[in-house]
């Protein structure tokens, strides 16, 4: 973990209220999939967390969905702006020993999974992706996943693109899921709840979010309840958890 002065290289609208930011950081070491950075904003005291979505040397990509004043501020920045970042934070996710694996993305949840897809690709682990979103416009990064995955399946709630229905409705109907060794999922809480109910025999790794204080393990602000009744810290114990381990 270090503090970085980053430069915003590009800020582009990706979908409704969804922005793609490329920033430049020098002297950054290895980042694991699932790790995140904490961005200082002008509107809030605490930093805001964003997962690394892609990387090309010292160019890092983040995908930001506007949900409040911090994200609104980030969305409004133009190229050349300076950013104050802390990271990489979190344990990140364990990499699978063997494939194929499947990525399950709900909406902007696609963001951290893209970087995972790239890493899996580098390690020659076969990877499929099921990208779901409310509407066609909200389906993001499909092309990028396309270049990294064996197969990319699209789904929208309203059927405007790909299968029609929720991700967890489509998933059981897919033929190729039998040989999948593990699943990596990121999306809204409701998606995790439904995934849990599907009761896979294979591990499902959930990329969680939570309102964070520090992001560095100091404040116990980012609690998610474990099956044992104790809370885990999303920031340093996660943000990726075995879906079995946590209570939703």
């Amino acid at each position: 973990m270090k503090k970085y002065q980053a430069t915003l290289l590009e800020n582009r609208l990706l979908g409704p209220e969804i922005y793609s930011l490329w920033v430049k950081i020098t002297d950054l070491g290895e980042v694991k999939p699932g790790q995140f950075f904490e961005f200082a904003t002008d509107t809030r005291f605490l930093r805001r967390a964003f997962s690394l979505s892609d990387r090309d040397g010292d160019r890092l990509r983040f995908v930001v969905k506007v949900v409040g004043s911090g994200t609104r501020w980030l969305a409004g920045l133009s190229a050349g702006s300076k950013l104050d970042l802390l990271g990489p934070l979190g344990e990140g996710t364990r990499m699978p020993s063997s494939g194929p694996v499947m990525l399950l993305a709900g909406g902007v949840g696609a963001a951290p999974l893209l970087y995972l897809a790239r890493k899996l690709n580098e390690q020659r682990v076969e990877v499929d992706a099921l990208l779901a979103a409310g509407t066609k416009e909200e389906l993001i990064l499909a092309e990028e996943f396309g270049s990294l995955c064996r197969e990319v399946i699209l789904a929208t709630d309203d059927g405007s693109c790909g299968h029609k229905g929720y991700l967890t409705d489509i998933l059981p109907t897919l033929p190729g899921t039998k040989d999948i060794q593990s699943f990596y999922a990121c999306g809204p809480e409701a998606m995790f709840v439904a995934l849990k109910r599907l009761n896979f025999r294979k591990p499902v790794y959930a990329f969680l979010e939570s309102r964070m204080g520090c992001g560095t393990g100091l404040c116990m602000g980012c609690a998610v309840r474990g099956r044992d009744g104790r809370y885990r810290r999303v920031c340093t114990d996660g943000p990726v958890f075995d879906l079995e381990e946590i209570e939703l």
Partner: protein
Amino acid sequence: MNLEVFLGKSRFRNPLVLASGTFGYGLTYTDVIDRVGAFVTKGITVQERVGNPPPRIWDTKETVVNSVGLENVGLKRFKEEILPEIDISTPLYVNLAGVTIDDFRILIEGLRDEEKVEGFELNLSCPNVKEGGAALGQSADRVRKVASLARSLTTKSIWVKLTSNFCDVRETAAAAADAGADAVVIVNTLNALIIDLANRKPFLGGGSGGLSGPAIKPHVLYMVHQVSKQVDIPVIASGGAGCGTDVVEYLLAGASLVQIGSINLVDPQASLRILKGLEGWLKREGIVCVSELIGRLEGI
């Protein structure tokens, strides 16, 4: 330049103290801990506590409201699992969070023989269920009782961390001083309520929370000044400090040490920046001993 501060027999390498609940148990970022004057652990309760359901944090530009609910490993695990792992060169203060007076007896008896522990910060802000939800710290009488008990149980340093909610913190501070406390900490977070309008219920999982951050600094500065005029023991400030000059302001207002809290959440190395700011200011002003500043506010 001499940044040392003495509180009675205790020496602190500089006036910065990492505030309870904002720097964990002291197992991480020890390079930062080793540069400040003292470190205070997260509040420890007799029994392990899982803490409040999320969300636990809310913020604006200048405030934080937290409702962690004293999640901690409890006395036993703290002693057996945490304390042996703590490896810092900075005085270690354990924040004790008791609900009843007897809790404090158990906590102090459990830790008073630990060499690693330099002293205790008595957190008197937990609502006392028996006495109807009021915290021990809200009555001068109860503060006196807890502080006297603590004094009778240990010769280690005792800091009494007070609340300003629904009470006169000048009186409770005087009671702590009377009872032999080594210092009072002014002040724990201000009670706060955040409303989730869509659901017409409290936003934070714990119901209500505690307000901290830069916005409360002027208010806490006032209280520190008043209390330091009222009591003869040292005052430790806690509220919104975020830069070197904030530390100077608190010292001028009468504080001997200044706790660094919420800002640690923004950057675990904030204290190092604050220390640098403090040193820079002292240098520019040609001040050799930081302790010269304590209580030197003019014209009020």
